[in-house]
């Protein structure tokens, strides 16, 4: 995706070049902001890491905040698509709703393994208040959680889940479970395999924690 950048290609000029620059800026920004936070990250740093002049940042994005917001939108878009895909695939394969949740847990882990910095940054900003990009975060959160809530609701309807479960809270809790477990995995035991982590979470998800019954 980012490689190459040999010109040619494209029908009408320059478009490709710009896209490549934006991509480089996203990648630079995501790492730096994950490490240091938004305010502590300077535009100069982002430009330098992307191998681009500062002016280029402002040629491509209206401001530092706008760059960040577009980054958020882009990233959560990827996650949401992936979760939806997982749920759909399970349904088509005739799997149960628990299977769907399990597949989504895995999709979440895959995402976090692939984009750890983005995840870090997202978590760090999500519950802040008074920030300009607050609304962007909300919208984007809504989308992702809605997928989980959808599966839970369907499960309640078809009798697979108890009618007494609190869909909203349970969805939050599940997201939190995966999020924190995955971040800890990446931060403190990155050598472990995804399957390994997934197995542990599966067990928890399916209530197979208590002893041999």
């Amino acid at each position: 995706m980012t490689i190459g950048t040999m010109e040619s290609s494209t029908t009408s000029g320059g478009r490709t070049r710009r896209e490549a620059t934006r991509q480089k800026l996203y990648e630079a920004a995501v790492t730096l902001i994950a490490e240091q936070g938004f305010s502590a990250t300077t535009v100069d740093e982002i430009a330098e890491r992307a191998g681009v002049a500062k002016g280029t940042v402002y040629y491509n994005f209206a401001s530092k905040s706008v760059l960040f917001e577009e980054l958020l939108r882009h990233g959560v878009g990827l996650l949401t698509a992936s979760l939806r895909q997982a749920a759909e695939d399970t349904a088509q394969r005739g799997g149960s709703k628990v299977d769907a949740l399990d597949a989504m847990v895995r999709a979440g882990l895959v995402f976090i393994e692939r984009y750890p910095s983005f995840t870090q940054l997202y978590v760090a900003e999500l519950w802040r208040t008074n920030r300009t990009w607050q609304s962007t975060l909300m919208v984007v959160r809504e989308q992702a959680v809605a997928v989980v809530e959808g599966v839970l609701r369907e499960g309640v309807q078809n009798g697979e889940f108890s009618e007494e479960i609190d869909v909203q809270l349970t969805a939050s809790a599940l997201v939190g479970m995966v999020l924190v477990a995955a971040l800890d995995w990446q931060a403190f035991q990155p050598e472990r395999s995804l399957d390994d982590v997934h197995a542990a979470l599966s067990r928890l998800l399916q209530g197979r924690v208590s002893g041999p019954r």
Copy 2:
């Protein structure tokens, strides 16, 4: 602060006033940093919110970072104590390990309800890298998670939990479950009662999600 005495250890007077000022500064800082993040929060703001002169901040703390670090230590100390208490009480009452976990979930919720800003701020900083207070965060995280891990381990030993569970990961996941559910609760449905939220999480914890038996 440099060498020697200066620490005349005023038994009655001085201690209290200073302590009160520090407390005011903690409270001001915790709110502001939770809302805006560390870097975006200025020392002038903290002083103003605490109703104190800027010089006082520097009389009481060596720097902005030090103020923040001591804040972290102080806050997590409270949480850890509370979790330990919950586990202990359950044990003394002869409850099972699941009961202990459940009690700890509740203790966590109580803490977050009481100190939502601190929790926000903590989550926002925990997985960052390259920060000066990184080590403080780690130590402090270790303490809290260790309490949960302890209970899980005891549960495995006495046969209440499966031997196959991954203690470390499961502990992370449980912490994440409570953390995210509680933050969402505070942020998006603050009108709900603690009992309500606790009930929903209990259900999840005890695997009573799947249908009517």
